[in-house]
Amino acid sequence: MIKFFLMVNKQGQTRLSRYYEHVEIKKRTMLEAEVIKNCLSRSKDQCSFIEYKDFKLVYRQYAALFVVVGIDHTENEMAVYELIHNFVEVLDKYFSRVVS
């Protein structure tokens, strides 16, 4: 199950966030900061799945924007990875010339 969907830029500013489970508003900012910290510290040749607390993060970087999806263990990580790309392509098609 997907827990949340985030688009965060390199400076840590949230561009888009959607939570599918209730999370307190204060905890959200903390969560986003931690998540982006984890993703930023990864190098290019490390895998895109991070184990964070009791769920997994699947992230993908597009220029200066990180798209991060939090999933639990029942999801196929690679399918989610494809989903992220699909989402970005859709945005691109719909809004034409997407920039962060």
Binding site: C47, F49, I50, N76, E77, M78, A79, Y81, E82
Partner: protein, 818 residues
């Protein structure tokens, strides 16, 4: 009032803010403007304001005052208003807010709206945040929409149904008829959501699962079409047709095929086909293959298929892409239990992954390697794992060390190899070894009797250079203490012996004691080791005495206690010293209640007691408690105990009890009071409550306290050695009449100067004809040694009537209270 700014402007303004404080200021200003605009009940700009509010909420600022506004927007007739209103409802409202129920009516109306987009909005919102009450009310509408011909609505309705089922599982049956035709769709969107709905229903209810098994052929057909069909532009992702749907169907097949032979049979072909036909050059193909592998592993597939799956995983491992390697390692870990041999084939690749740069991959590879170690490959694997231990990140070292210990214990080819491996781990990652590993290592070393010299020599060499790693130093100092004589004897078959003098050994132990790096526990080990060497070494006893006496004034209470005890050993009990400090017997490992405790085969040396890890608690086996009890009343040490309470500095008595118990009692120099029965309590925990004390005299005569109407009560006495003011009386009640006496209750009262404790009786029925008795224990405390007197009250049922009697007992023998 000027028109409020548009959302885009707001976003642009907020982005120009350079600091957090600036951003907060702008947002607060805008919030104030929005609030005043809400108060004015301005209809035209409401949706714009709410949109801005939602953006600010997303950034993390509170926006609850917009909830009612969202409701107003939903109620409006304009589509743009409704759209923002529903979005706001999804983000801001949930079950916890009371206002959400007000939406129910709006949603109901919108579900029946003429425009499909409005209906779609309503379905989305219900599916996102509907509470159980709302779901119950609106489930009927959703079900109706599930049957419409409009595919846009059908797919949304299917997802909404998933949410309804999650919230209110009882409504599942309601959706059953609608699912009949779901899989006959052409539209992939509807197909996808239908599969999700079916998955949810199957996961929730085993009956549904059985019911839907008949759909397996249909699912197989759909999957086949997807693979076989040519290029279709709407569903194509990097050359594969609708991979998301394929993955979903595979997952549903997994759930349906689990534990069911027929369905698994039906799926075998298609799974093989997917596995072989999917293109693996792109990530998409690999995602599908991964799901296929998971499915094959979970259902009752034939062995050929399983081997195919593991080979796919093996191929994944060789791939350059990290994601794929990670995924492969995770799945191999899941399958290694069931298909051990197949996974063994890929062992070398897995071991290579240990050297990968990525942390997640390394962790997975490490876990998998431990799972793969067996008798045949243990030497090779250990070499790799030791190399890994050396070079890995600190967060892995503890786990790796524990894993190596476990594996080497199970599969060690020879004792020497085992000890070598342990030594290497201790020297490499000594400070990360878990504390509980130290006692198990020590036990292991004592077990390999012939290796003692070799072990102690190597340990000595290891700490010569560096004694900062605590577990290593603990094990080493313990061994040196035990086998110091072997060390200085200079004989060792396994490797060239080193010439060590007693002074050198004592030097190194002393420096460990003094060093700042040593933990308190390590110092305790070392002090005990030095003490033991006093019997093993011949020339340096005085030096040992000196060291020990220095530490008797140490600030560390533990060290001080040990030092004082050892000092006393030297001074007063020197004749006992060799016996106490003798070589430890081989320890057996006993597992009790899942905890591993080290049981002494003969409960002798004091050092054994000091090092036993956990203080004897109620979990102790009876045998050990009895051993310790033997110590208390046993042969070697008897001369000590009786003198303790009477003569000498109280410290002696207290300490010796400390020695023989565990060091629960701290602060020895403080006078321990005459040891009460309660102290040490743990000795008694493991034993049933019986009188523990031996009679001093040959036996105190028992008396008949009461004899009337066929009921006879006898008193037998016991006095304790250690506590002369306690008398334990055991009463025995017998019945010589022809009928039983039931509900027998014995009560007793004593004069004020005494204290009485009545324990529970053995039963409440005295059988007739003296065929059985009731036993009860009374403890009387008589500090002033006055004559014992007692008044007793008896109540029982006999021959159908309740009888009560009072009596006074004054014929206590003088030995019972003097």
């Amino acid at each position: 009032m000027p028109a409020p700014i548009r959302l885009r402007e707001l976003i642009r303004t907020i982005r120009t803010a350079r600091t957090q404080a600036e951003e907060r200021e702008m947002i607060q200003k805008e919030c104030a403007a929005i609030r005043s605009s809400f108060r004015e009940e301005d209809n035209t700009y409401r949706c714009r304001n709410v949109a801005k509010l939602l953006y600010m909420h997303m950034l993390g600022y509170p926006a609850h005052f917009g909830q009612l506004e969202c409701l107003k927007l939903i109620a409006s007739q304009k589509f743009t208003d409704k759209r923002i209103g529903y979005l706001g409802a999804m983000l801001l409202l949930d079950e916890r807010q009371d206002v959400h129920l007000l939406m129910t009516n709006c949603i109901k109306n919108d579900l029946n709206h003429s425009t499909q987009y409005v209906q779609g909005l309503a379905l989305c919102t219900l599916g996102c945040m509907g509470s159980s009450e709302m779901c119950r009310d609106l489930a009927g509408e959703v079900e109706k929409l599930l049957k419409t011909s409009n595919s846009y609505l059908r797919k949304k309705a299917a997802l909404c149904a998933v949410h309804v089922i999650r919230k209110v599982p009882e409504l599942m049956e309601m959706f059953l008829p609608a699912t009949k035709n779901l899989l006959n769709e052409k539209n992939h969107g509807v197909l996808h959501t239908s599969v999700v709905l079916l998955t949810e229903m199957c996961e929730r209810s085993p009956d549904m699962l059985a019911h839907f098994r008949k759909l397996v052929p249909q699912l197989v057909r759909i999957l086949k079409n997807l693979i076989m069909s040519g290029y279709s532009p709407e569903h194509d992702v990097s050359g594969i047709s609708d991979p998301f749907l394929q993955v979903r169907i595979l997952r549903l097949l997994r759930i349906l095929g689990r534990n069911d032979d027929d369905s698994s049979e039906a799926m075998n072909d298609i799974l093989a086909q997917v596995a072989t036909n999917t293109e693996t050059s792109k990530n998409v193909g690999n995602a599908i293959l991964y799901e296929t592998v998971l499915t094959i592993m979970d259902i009752k597939s034939e062995s050929g298929l399983r081997v195919l799956a593991i080979n796919i995983l093996g191929r994944f491992l060789l791939n350059n892409d990290k994601n794929i390697r990670y995924v492969a390692l995770t799945s191999l870990l899941k399958t290694v239990q069931t298909d051990h041999n197949a996974v063994q084939r890929h062992r070398s690749t897995i071991v290579d992954c240990l050297k990968d740069l990525d942390v997640s991959i390394k962790r997975r590879a490490m876990e998998l390697s431990f799972a793969l170690v067996n008798g045949n490959n243990v030497r090779g694997m250990m070499k790799e794992l030791l190399y890994f231990l050396d070079s890995c990140e600190p967060e892995f070292k503890a786990d790796c060390a524990s894993g190596i210990f476990l594996a080497s214990e199970k599969y060690a080819p020879s004792k020497r190899w085992h000890i070598d491996t342990i030594m290497r781990v201790l020297t490499m990652a000594g400070s990360y070894v878990r504390d509980d590993a130290v006692p198990s290592l020590i036990q292991l070393i004592t077990n390999s009797v012939e290796m003692h010299t070799y072990t102690v020599q190597r340990l000595y060499k290891a700490i010569l250079g560096d004694y900062s790693q605590q577990p290593l130093v603990q094990v080493a100092s313990w061994c040196i203490g035990e086998y110091g004589d072997l060390l200085v004897s200079g004989q060792c078959e396994e490797e060239p012996p080193i010439q060590v003098t007693e002074d050198e050994v004592l030097d190194i132990l002393e420096s460990i004691l003094i060093s700042n790096m040593s933990a308190s526990v390590t110092r305790g080990y070392t002090l005990t080791a030095i003490m033991k060497l006093s019997t093993r070494f011949t020339c340096n006893v005085n030096r040992v005495r000196k060291i020990v006496s220095v530490y008797s004034s140490s600030i560390d209470v533990e060290l001080q206690q040990r030092a004082v005890e050892y000092n006393t050993l030297f001074k007063k009990y020197d004749h006992m010293r060799p016996a106490l400090l003798e070589r430890m017997p081989v320890m057996e490992k006993v597992t009790i209640n899942g905890l591993t405790e080290i049981v002494q085969s003969n409960g002798e040396t004091e050092s054994a007691v000091l090092e036993t890890k956990s203080p004897p608690s109620g979990l102790q086996p009876l045998s050990q408690a009895n051993d310790l009890l033997d110590l208390l009343g046993g042969t070697d040490i008897t001369p000590v105990i009786p003198t303790a309470p009477t003569s000498k500095p109280d410290s002696t008595g207290g300490e010796l009890l400390d020695l023989l118990g565990d060091l629960n009692l701290t602060c020895s120099p403080v006078s321990a009071p005459v040891p009460q029965i309660a102290q040490p309590p743990f000795l008694l925990d493991g034993l049933p409550s019986q009188p523990l004390f031996s009679d001093i005299a040959a036996g105190i005569p028992s008396i008949t306290a009461y004899n009337k109407n066929g009921l006879k009560i006898d008193f037998t006495f016991e006095r304790s050695n250690t506590n002369p003011s306690v008398t334990v009386i055991t009463i025995q009640a017998s019945n010589s009449t022809e009928l039983d006496m039931t509900d027998f209750v014995f009560q007793a009262a004593v004069p004020k100067t005494f204290q009485l404790q009545l324990l529970s009786p053995s039963s409440g029925v005295i059988p007739a004809f003296n065929s059985g008795t009731i036993t009860q224990v009374i403890k009387v405390l008589n500090p002033q040694k006055q004559q014992l007197r007692m008044r007793i009250k008896l109540t029982y049922n006999h021959k159908g009537s309740a009888i009560q009697d009072l009596a006074e007992v004054s014929n206590f023998p003088p030995q019972s209270w003097q």
